[in-house]
């Protein structure tokens, strides 16, 4: 923004206007995100040290200012409660396990899909990308719901298997962990494919030619050149699937059963059914703590993407 018009007269007002516009450009997104993204986390942290009461809002104040004295009442009870009750530990473990398996499945299906798309003719690439992305533009809720009709005891898949004679009695597929993993893979697959595709399409094909000229077998070239060079895309895609999947509520609620323990669902029930806001907040803080490393990994990659050729 260096070159300024060389006018003798209204320089001062011009400078002021530039400064004003500049601070708007910086200020608006900054203040909005500070107020509506960062500050709320501070509040979650604060409420997690409170205790539940029958009132509106249903928690006790943490910072008190009575008779000119300022006091802070920190209640670690919620965190102790989370550790002591095996339900919560099991829910955290269950979420991480299910999210991990689903991420792995997404990677195993998504990588070849991204690879084939990146190697297709340019005209076709656009069509394929559109086909891959389009499901994620329709309703998430409805795509999860679609599996309820397919996996149910009276559902399409059971009827098909019975008709083929592969099974004698309907298999219980809905309301199991299997259904939850399938739902996550189905809903999040496009988010795995896209970053890997973006990475593979930029890959310098001369490297592959050089490797093959030097006598490397295609499979060897893939393992030693293509795969390591697409590491960034793999990490970004995996984080885009893994992190939201850990906190997923809709999929375990609709496709999971009574034995499906996932932390997003537990938090939802703690908040809406038990109206225990402090415990729900403590659950959120611990979840955030567990996801901190994956979030930092994702942020590193994304920041590099945002800043490239900047």
């Amino acid at each position: 923004m260096e070159p300024q018009p060389m006018k003798p007269g209204p320089t001062k007002s011009l400078v002021r206007r530039v400064l004003a516009s500049r601070s708007t450009v910086f200020g608006v997104p900054f203040i909005w995100l500070l107020l509506f993204f960062l500050l709320p986390f501070g509040l979650v942290l604060k409420i997690s040290f409170s205790s539940a009461v029958m009132a509106i809002p249903p928690y006790e104040p943490v910072f008190n200012y009575i008779d000119d004295t300022f006091s802070v009442v920190l209640n670690f009870g919620n965190y102790l409660f989370l550790i002591s009750d095996s339900l919560y530990v099991a829910a955290y473990w269950g979420s991480i396990k299910i999210a991990f398996i689903a991420t792995l499945c997404c990677l195993l299906i998504g990588y070849p899909m991204a690879y084939a798309t990146a190697r297709a003719p340019v005209q076709l690439q656009l069509v394929l990308l559109l086909l891959i992305m389009m499901p994620s533009w329709t309703s998430f809720l409805i795509r999860v719901y679609a599996w309820m009709g397919i996996l149910g005891n009276q559902g399409l898949l059971n009827n098909l298997l019975l008709w083929l004679g592969l099974i004698d009695a309907p298999l219980r597929m809905l309301n199991t962990n299997f259904a939850v993993i399938l739902g996550i893979v189905y809903a999040y697959l496009p988010f795995m494919i896209l970053p890997i595709y973006a990475n593979l399409v930029k890959l310098d094909t001369r490297l592959l030619e050089a490797a093959s000229d030097l006598g490397s077998r295609p499979l060897n070239t893939f393992w030693t050149i293509t795969l390591p060079l697409s590491k960034g895309g793999i990490i970004a895609g995996s984080m885009l699937v893994f992190i939201p999947a850990v906190g997923e509520f809709v999929i375990p609620e609709l496709l999971g059963g009574p034995d499906t323990l996932m932390i997003g669902k537990v938090l939802w029930e703690e908040f809406f059914n038990n109206r225990d806001w402090p415990v729900a907040s403590a659950l959120a803080i611990v979840m955030l703590g567990l996801l901190l490393i994956p979030i930092i990994l994702f942020h590193r990659y994304q920041a590099r993407e945002l800043e490239k050729n900047g």
């Binding site: 899909m113 069509v127 533009w137 679609a146 559902g155 893939f222």
Partner: protein
């Protein structure tokens, strides 16, 4: 030989993967025309569920509510997301850069239950301190959706901002345009396609959100996903199949138009420039 084999393996997975993505939606479309209430029985072709859908006042008002919220959220998210990505791509060194970049990227992966809970606590606190919002509803959902949609807009727009030729901006400023004027006359038209796709993405994200809206909404505001969710929780319903079909068809048409427009502009770009004599 081996090369051909490995390529065909990924192609096979691509085809199977696409089938996996589209078969469940195809099933929904087919069963929305089923005369029977049950999923497992095909009782002939019928459009009665579409009729039932149009009679459902609760659903229709939820659709209207969702469309309005999505429109306002997408518009605001485009403003904030564009400003944020402009700052990130055009200014390399300023205080708070790391903080801004993490606040832009974090909402992309943040679990929805955490975002929803944290925003609700903010609104409750704000109501206590400054008396607003007294009752939660459209305005609070609008703020919540704008916040997480801005992140997606920022990703789409900054990809485009990095591509545009900055010498045009510099030329405009050399010729005396103020940075603000340059931004509106030069930069905005150059990134217009990204603004449109960012807006559309934000619109669909807002229209689709259940979890965050459930946290921050009050008794007055019921969005479409909330109505769908409370119905779907009880089991499969042919009315929801009909709704799903309408959504799928609408998105397909919009996607087709987008593909056609991109295709045409690509063809134009590939044509050689007319020679100037």
């Amino acid at each position: 030989m081996v090369r051909a084999k490995s390529v065909s393996f990924s192609r096979v997975v691509l085809v199977i993967g696409l089938l996996f993505l589209y078969l469940p939606m195809f099933v929904l479309v087919v069963y929305s025309f089923n005369a029977s209430r049950l999923v497992s029985v095909w009782a002939g072709f019928s459009t009665e569920w579409y009729g039932a859908l149009l009679q459902d006042q609760q659903l229709l008002s939820a659709v209207w509510m969702s469309l309005r919220i999505a429109f306002y959220s997408a518009s605001m998210a485009v403003c904030i997301g564009t400003l944020a990505s402009f700052v990130m791509t055009r200014f390399q060194h300023f205080r708070g850069r790391t903080m801004l970049s993490s606040m832009i990227t974090a909402p992309l992966v943040m679990p929805e239950v955490i975002t929803g809970l944290s925003l609700l606590l903010l609104f409750v606190q704000m109501a206590q301190l400054i008396g607003w919002p007294q009752d939660r509803g459209m305005a609070t959902i609008w703020i919540a959706h704008t916040t997480f949609c801005s992140a997606y807009v920022a990703v789409v727009v900054s990809a485009r901002l990095r591509e545009v030729d900055r010498s045009i901006e510099e030329a405009a400023m050399d010729l005396g345009a103020t940075p603000l004027k340059t931004f509106f006359i030069i930069t905005i038209p150059m990134i217009a396609p990204a603004l449109v796709s960012g807006w559309l993405l934000a619109f669909t994200l807002s229209l689709d959100d259940l979890v965050i809206a459930s946290f921050v909404s009050g008794p007055g505001a019921t969005t479409l996903p909330m109505v769908v969710f409370s119905s779907v929780r009880l089991g499969v319903s042919p009315k929801i199949n009909a709704l799903a079909t309408i959504i799928i068809v609408t998105v397909s048409i919009v996607a087709f138009i987008a593909w056609y427009l991109v295709q045409r502009s690509e063809e134009k770009r590939r044509q050689p420039l007319p020679e100037s004599s």
